[in-house]
């Protein structure tokens, strides 16, 4: 049996695509001169790392139900090790562009990169 699409199906698809594009545009940030990684656990800032000024290897161990280690070098940052069951955070790999995030949902830890773009404006988006 084949699917017989109705007109409404295309409306659903259009709504999904349009909202995806609008969201993507609102989160897109230009290449930055300054890059700061913000490490948050359940809304509290654990540390901020200036990725563009990083010398050598940076590591941070976080505690909690599912502890883990974050490392940064050469303008990029990642979850190096985590004891969470799904390992999605480790599989995300390195992130380096402003607007990118890496998240460990079980541990409630998020790495977010923010930057000042080449135009000199220091605020791209404010999310409350």
């Amino acid at each position: 049996m084949r699917i017989k699409p109705r007109a409404g199906d295309f409306v659903v698809i259009a709504v999904i695509v349009i909202s995806a594009v609008l969201l993507a545009v609102s989160f897109y940030q230009k290449n930055s001169i300054e890059k700061t990684a913000i490490i948050l656990q359940n809304g509290t800032v654990l540390d901020t790392v200036r990725l563009d000024r990083l010398e050598g290897l940076y590591t941070l161990d976080y505690e909690g139900e599912y502890p883990g280690t974050i490392e940064a070098e050469n303008g990029k940052i990642r979850f190096a090790h985590a004891e969470c069951p799904d390992q999605v955070c480790v599989n995300t790999g390195w992130i380096s562009r402003p607007g990118q995030i890496a998240v460990c949902l079980p541990a409630g830890v998020m790495i977010r990169i923010e930057g000042i773009d080449a135009d000199g404006s220091d605020v791209d988006i404010i999310i409350k």
Partner: protein, 170 residues
């Protein structure tokens, strides 16, 4: 009594599908938390189309609780409940236009998108941070593909079940 038995079968089927889904490493291709095929949504759709809303709610809630307790852990319960309930809500609304405005395709895709939105909403509440919405565009687009896949499976399943005449479309 027959309804109770069928509901129980649906719940166990959904739990098994949630389990199998964990072995499909979709997040290695697209490294976004919570990315899944949404196979259990086929069961939700079946319950919604053949058993009614009460049954669909029961199957969804019990499936989420069982799957989280068995394989996911407590933190995954809130995410799966948020996603599953959003999906159920949207699919219930879209189903009112079934065969007129929408086919299984639109209902399934709408359900997938709602599921992702629900999970991201819950995640942003839990992490007290909206930055996680950056994942939503990717999830929405992949939801179109997984929604199509589940729609194909559901259409075939529904036609077999209807021929069998043991349960009726409502």
């Amino acid at each position: 009594m027959k309804k109770l038995a069928l509901n129980s079968i649906l719940i166990s089927l959904a739990v098994v599908l949630s389990y199998i889904e964990r072995f499909i490493p979709l997040d290695l291709i697209i490294p976004v938390p919570g990315i899944k095929l949404g196979l259990a949504n086929i069961v939700t759709m079946f319950a919604l189309f053949f058993m009614g809303l009460t049954s669909a709610v029961a199957v969804t809630v019990l499936r989420c609780i069982l799957a989280s307790f068995l394989f996911g852990g407590m933190s995954s319960l809130l995410y799966s409940l948020a996603g599953a309930f959003m999906a159920l809500m949207v699919m219930t609304v879209l189903k009112t236009g079934y065969n007129k405005a929408f086919s299984i395709l639109g209902i399934s895709m709408g359900g997938a998108a709602a599921h992702n939105t629900g999970q991201i909403l819950m995640a942003s509440l839990m992490m007290r941070n909206a930055a996680i919405f950056a994942y939503l565009p990717v999830l929405l687009m992949t939801g179109l593909v997984t929604g199509l896949l589940t729609a194909i499976i559901a259409v075939n399943l529904f036609s077999i079940v209807e021929k069998n005449k043991s349960v009726k479309l409502i």
